[in-house]
Amino acid sequence: MQRHLISAADLTRDDAVLILDTAEEMARVADRPIKKLPTLRGRTIVNLFFEDSTRTRISFEAAEKRLSADVINFTAKGSSVSKGESLKDTAQTLEAMGVDAVVIRHGASGAPYRLANSGWIDAAVINAGDGTHQHPTQALLDAFTMRRRLVGRDAGLGQDLAGRQITIVGDVLHSRVARSNVDLLHTLGAEVTLVAPPTLVPVGVETWPCEVSYDLDSTLAKTDAVMMLRVQRERMNAAFFPTEREYSRRYGLDGDRMARMPEHAIVMHPGPMVRGMEITAEVADSERCTVVEQVANGVSIRMAVLYLLLGGNEPALTHARPPVSHHHPSNERSAHTPSAAEEK
């Protein structure tokens, strides 16, 4: 693994599988009465959020605290983003405080890359979402969710997603989630199809390791997982599509469309959902929808990433059995880790 996690494209298949396997170990911590590991005791991690995202920040914070790290939350949204010095100045302030890792969320694509590569700081940098570029821990938690559901919690250990058909639907153009998922899922051997109106597919997509379709219905019958991306209503003001109604008619997932998917296929969403736009309430609330699981899995994935980047030499679980020999009831639905919201 590299020192930083900036892009899902930087991960090899073995890196990614190791993260997913480690996340399974981390998930077991949640089954214990005391949900904490001493792994990162004495290490300081700052959550540097230039953009509002309570969900992602809470998820990282929960992961950091379960690993016993000291956590600093730094929210610098709004004005400071407009002028660039603030990123450098803020970074150097944190560096002076002796921070070991920076989890950064930024509205500008490439800001985490700059932070990691400009010589401003020495700390490890973890990208928690930058502009319309990347959101690698989201892709990892999505892959984790898919592996659990499609391969199995224990059967999945050491496995990738070879041959699985994944469909990602919606505003690909503005989506860091789509970019990260295309990269990671391809690395893990899955076959990805992006579905969107042509206005929401970037020029230059032809080199991405995926298929592109403008027709949702033709892809559903063979899909193992469909991921619905959030579509902001404002997009129609910039003529990306005519109306909300037309968008949901052509690209939204409703009960009828879901019924045409294979029995085992799951419905995913990175959240927050716009019900009535890209997804109907019926689908969002169905058993096949993994939104709540994705939130829980996010904590495990972020624990795994932090552990592998910062604590790599020590065993993750001092008293754990090796993961391969561990047998666990295979009912994935019951295998919840506490969701981020439950963590205090």
Partner: protein
């Protein structure tokens, strides 16, 4: 003024000759010229060119003296072998009145490193709404003939048409920064494969090409000449080629950086590569070189755009657009055009001196290296190779995309009307 004998210089890359300067003029060009009473400069096989002329420089004064002044910018120009630069109008205040252009012109004359020919704004405040007093700027001491809203496009077709027509009265030319504004809202880099991956807002080639297509047709319709700034795409080349074949009076420039660099460099998210128009693809770069070689693109212009360190030492989206270029232009042209066999040194003289002076009506510049002509000259050590060190720049700014890159050629001497502004690579 004393005499200077430049001995054994390859004039425009030809056979070694001696060039004798007397006062502000070239007295003689030949072999075995007497050095009596003359200071001798041994050229030793270096190439002698007419003083370079840059039709597109941002000097930043008045208003942004933290990034460049007329003094530092003209010193940078002399270092790069230039004897005349055209200063863009996007200063604070904007050069849209006779007063501002005269101020910039006089500063250039006072400092004496390089003639400064101000460019006047086409519209008041570069706002694209109301014509600036083009005639007054032309009649001023600065005698402005080139007008441009550079940095912004004159996107209103009617304003562009009127400007093209109006400046005909005094032989002016409108230099268009071709950028359709609606197609480039939020644009951060060339729109294509790399922007799709990096998640940076795209600046599509069509935003440049559609404006160029419109403007050459407007120029044809009203019988005016039009100049296209920093042409950057293969498609733009085709449109200009078509326009010239039709007899439309269009000229075009390309920057050194568009001849060498591609959008692949943006993968570093290093804002030193952020520029407008953006770095394009390999295919565009090759088309631009070919077009410069065959004359479709008339000239090289630097678009020297100094910015203070803090405007580049930040994340990509927050960074300013632009690169300094005066001190590296000739080296980049040697690398991309001469060393590749696409251009001779005579061809370089044509595209970096004669033709830009002609487009901008810069009297006394872009003249042949022959007896009786003004002694505006540049001596280049074309055998030199070295890596670019921004710390050595005369410009106040350091935002070069070539830091550490090895480039050929080095200007050792520059003479402005017989007065040395650069000697052995050092400013006088």
């Amino acid at each position: 003024m004393s005499k200077i004998l430049i001995r054994g210089a390859k004039v425009l890359g030809g056979e070694p000759q001696d060039v004798l300067i007397d006062g502000s003029l070239i007295e003689a060009v030949g072999t075995g010229l007497s050095d009596e009473g003359a200071e001798v400069v041994e050229a030793d096989g270096k190439v002698l060119l007419p003083g370079l002329v840059d039709l597109h420089t941002h000097l930043r004064e008045p208003g942004r003296e933290d990034s460049e002044t007329v003094l530092t910018g003209t010193r940078a120009a002399a270092s790069g072998g230039y004897t005349a630069v055209f200063a863009m109008a996007n200063t604070f205040p904007v050069a849209d009145t006779a007063g501002v252009v005269e101020q910039v012109y006089r500063l250039g004359q006072e400092h004496g490193y390089c003639d400064v020919q101000p460019i006047g704004a086409v519209t008041v405040g570069l706002e694209g709404k109301k014509l600036a007093e083009l005639g007054a700027m032309h009649e001023s001491a600065a005698s402005v003939t080139v007008f441009s809203d550079d940095g912004k496009c004159v996107d209103d077709a009617v304003i562009m048409r009127r400007a093209l027509e109006y400046v005909k009265a005094f032989g002016g030319v409108v230099a268009q920064h071709a950028q359709e504004p609606r197609l480039t809202e939020g644009a951060q880099m060339n729109e294509g494969i790399v922007s799709a991956e990096l998640g940076l807002g795209g600046w599509p080639a069509v935003a440049e090409e559609s404006i160029i297509a419109r403007d050459v047709l407007l120029a044809e319709h009203v019988g005016s000449r039009v100049h296209i700034c920093h042409l950057s795409t293969a498609g733009s080349v085709e449109i200009v080629r078509w326009a010239k074949s039709r007899g439309i009076d269009v000229t075009a420039e390309v920057t050194p950086h568009h001849l060498l660099l591609t959008d692949e460099l943006v993968r570093s998210y290093n804002p030193v590569y952020k520029v407008n128009p953006p770095l394009r693809t390999e295919r565009d770069v090759l088309a631009l070189r070919e077009a410069l070689a065959d004359g479709t693109i008339d000239i090289v212009a630097t678009d020297h755009a100094p910015h203070p360190h803090e405007d580049k030492d930040c994340e990509w989206a927050a960074a300013a657009m632009g690169m300094v270029g005066l001190e590296t232009a000739l080296s980049v042209v040697q690398e991309t055009m001469v060393d590749t066999g696409l251009l001779t040194w005579a061809g370089v003289a044509e595209r970096m001196s004669f033709k830009p002076a002609e487009i901008g009506r810069a009297t006394g510049h872009g003249r042949p290296v022959s007896a009786g002509e003004p002694a505006n000259l540049t001596l280049v050590d074309t055998e030199y190779r070295g890596s670019v060190d921004p710390e050595g720049f005369a410009s106040r700014s350091r935002n070069t995309p070539y830091e550490g890159r090895e480039l050929p050629g080095r200007v050792t001497h520059t003479w402005l009307r017989g007065k040395a502004t650069l000697v052995d690579g050092k400013l006088t």
